[in-house]
Symmetry: C3
């Protein structure tokens, strides 16, 4: 049943020659460029300010964001020059894939935010990127799975779940006893800054998912992403009121609203509009449930603090979105899809755990979640 008025998924769309030597192909590349700028907005203002919710750690969160992005993109380019790692020939496609890597890294960093020294964020970026690129190669570059077999257009698995699980792995090694009980506080102003980040992520998310999609599929994909985000936002409101004792948690509103974007990633260009909305609703509920119920239990269980709750926003909804692809995308190999998910879980957790061990060598902060330890404050 199609609840929403749909003009139908674009089927036999005439494909545009994206040959860069044709005028039309060059114009199409400039359109991708434009979406790459939208993704940059998500990386810096989006992820950056979403993390400013920690009230005494704003300068650090934003500086860390700057460094994580500025290290990861050149590292992606550098490694792309080495035989083992395959990056696309097309200039703009490579930039977008580098930005995807940076997004995954920022998600990962959210898990340990406030508990690394600034220099350790740089080391994290250097260690994370090759692992991310290996996983990318295993799943979509012909490393383990057949090329073109693993469907994940908007990166539910490759970007979101990978980043969150890698972060969980790092947090499992790095979390100190002191940190297990240290409060993570927000205030009026930090909450509003956090909403700047949330809204910037929300509104540019269609460009994230459609970044590399063919022109004829961009509008359809965008509408799916918007409807999924709408679904998640509505669901977040009802879920937060339900799980938080009839009051709204602004942290839920800033985060779980975005779960629709995370979950629709794998199926953004295939789902029906109604399907997209439903995926969003489910992702929103799942994410609030994660923040309100699962997080504290998981943290006690694995003795790891997940500062930003990236497992709730990117982990569970990402995995859910990847699994949804098995059911929603026609002609997909469920074996390939599930294998890709399994590989990602394994690579991310193990690589994250090892990375955490290495990071520990570089020492520890004295006090978590404060700018004053590393910044000149008049």
């Amino acid at each position: 049943m199609t609840a929403f008025a749909e003009s139908g998924a674009p089927g036999a769309a005439l494909s545009i020659s994206t040959d860069a030597s044709s005028g039309l192909g060059q114009v199409v590349d400039v359109q991708k460029y434009n979406r790459s700028i939208h993704v940059l907005a998500m990386l810096l203002v989006g992820f950056g300010f979403l993390m400013v919710f920690v009230r005494r750690y704003g300068r650090s969160a934003l500086t860390a964001t700057y460094l994580l992005v500025s290290v990861s993109i050149p590292v992606y380019y550098l490694l792309g020059g080495i035989g083992a790692f395959e990056v696309p020939e097309i200039e703009i496609d490579r930039l977008i894939l580098a930005e995807f890597g940076a997004a995954s890294l920022l998600i990962c960093a959210g898990a340990v935010l406030g508990r690394l020294k600034m220099s350790q964020y740089i080391v994290l970026a250097i260690l994370f990127m090759p692992c991310y690129m290996i996983n990318e190669w295993l799943l979509t570059g012909g490393g383990l799975l057949p090329r073109g077999g693993f469907v994940d257009t908007g990166g539910s698995i490759l970007i979101h779940a990978f980043g969150a699980l890698f972060g969980l792995g790092v947090a499992m090694t790095m979390t100190t006893k002191k940190e297990l009980t240290a409060p993570i506080e927000s205030d009026d102003t930090s909450d509003r800054f956090s909403m700047v980040g949330s809204m910037v992520l929300w509104l540019f998310w269609p460009s994230f998912c459609a970044a590399l999609v063919a022109p004829e599929l961009v509008p359809y994909t965008a509408v799916n992403v918007v409807l999924s985000l709408c679904g998640a936002t509505i669901a977040t409101y009802f879920a937060t009121v339900f799980f938080r004792g009839r009051k709204i948690s602004i942290a839920d509103m800033a985060n779980a609203t975005l779960a629709g974007g995370v979950a629709i990633g794998s199926t953004c260009d295939h789902a029906t509009h109604t399907g997209a909305f439903v995926i969003g609703v489910l992702a929103g509920v799942l994410s609030v449930f994660g923040f309100a119920v699962v997080q504290s239990r998981l943290e006690q269980k694995v003795k790891a603090i997940d500062t930003c709750g990236v497992m709730n926003l990117h982990g569970w909804p990402g995995l859910g979105g990847g699994i949804a692809a098995v059911f929603l995308v026609g002609g997909i190999s469920s074996g390939t899809e599930l294998a890709g998910i399994g590989i990602t879980i394994a690579v991310a957790l193990i690589a994250g755990y090892v990375t955490g061990k290495i990071l520990s060598i570089f020492g520890r902060r004295i006090e978590p979640y404060v700018d004053s330890e590393e910044f000149v404050l008049e």
Copy 2:
């Protein structure tokens, strides 16, 4: 006389085939998609943060913005599936029209901001959208006026005036005695957040007006909108100093600067550059006059508080812009134009009044303009 150097309004421009099955048509749709993202930025960050000026109501204003957008867009799609409401077949055009509806709703909500419970914003969205769509159908869908007769490219009447008048209607039913005297306070930080919203609205306004304009008219339209906004901004400064006793009101600077965008809507693709600048100047003065002089008198008269002063930003300048079209657009039927304005005033005020009555059934807040009533605050 043409004061500004103009390359001339594009006349016999070669029209692009926007047939979605052609390569060029697909590229043109992706360009519209891009403007739809700009409009999303206005809806969330723009309107959202402009409303954060109420200092203890920031979390609520942003959550309400998220919900209003996330309910109205799917409702537009849902109703579009029902025979009575006509929505375009073209995927991206429909998204943009849905966003226009969301913009009008956000304007409406600004009138009663801080005085609805969160759940009432959701009900407001559900009740507002069909009324908005009926008015759209009456004026441009062949409902009452001849198709193509009513000129309102950037929505001065259909979006801005409709939303403001609907909001006034709601406020007329809903405003309690207590609210008539309750202060609406801002502070240093809420003022700066409000300017984030204002500037985001200002800079993306050209994309709002040109969202559905043909490619060959986009640059000309954009320049008109920019010049109108420049005119309004300059005028706002002089008017605020004049009306506020030689000091500047930051609320005027955040709001009346945008009146140029509101007023140029109807004529954005037809006015000369000089005409656009003049419209902006007049709109800016009118808007500051509204905020500084008219608002308090109107509020006493109709016993209704207009929290954000939407009548001053969207109401009067919108109506003025619609009337300007009668004089500035060649070949226009002034009868059709004025009829459209009259219908909009009637539909919006009546529908708003009835909607306010229905909303009252769902109860009232205890205290206006505070987050604490509905949010978990540590």
Copy 3:
């Protein structure tokens, strides 16, 4: 040696007919329009909020930004109608060049921020624009240098160095004894707002540099700008820790990170990716050195306070970027390039100094760096 994997600078790219009467040409113009919106975002939210770091002067900085942009753009159009000043016929190109002028003006204003009355910012804009346009005409319009001879795609010299030196000139006349010792204070919240501005500038910088670049060169240029900004950001971190006694200055992180964008301007479409990264690193170090070491000495020397440190962000890195072009761009005339730099230094300093004298006629503020002198504050 090419460190980064490069697909190579686009050489014999097929050029697109940008004839506005062709469908493809119109689409290319809409793409430029889109970059013009990105530049608007930099002007308002970018420069505007970067200047909000002065904690009690936020409303003023944002209002000044609004006015500077809104006066300079129409003035550019107005003067463009007078024979002496040449502006392009193409609608969208003219808008972008007007925005470039506004950018240069905002840089200039940063030097005297907090020490002009609001009305003096308007006078500054009116006096600045013809000087800017004369310099533009001397260097690229055939006024003194041969047309097409002076290479400065992204405006290192024409926009950044000119604005900074003009501002220095103004500051040299305007700075009072009291201002030489008055503290310029920031706080937690003003620092975070400043980072909003910084990040918005960073992420849209590729569109600034590529605004008028041919479609086939846009992706290559964008990657160069991104890599240069990444280089500057990494360098800023190490330099700030080095020069600030092992702690990070958030002002350095907000400003010097952008020096990569300033410095790559002249060579953005010519440098190799590795070259772009190196230029960014050097610019970042130079800029932090300017903020941490040079600024206080220069201020004592010329008895002029540079409020935002525009010489460190736009002055030195701009000049450095212009000089880099001599070495990096093939087929360039080093004589022409150096002459252009020399002319810019002379015109900017002299015109700035004279402008400062004229501004002084309009009186002085009582207290620098406070909103309260000119704003209604409840």
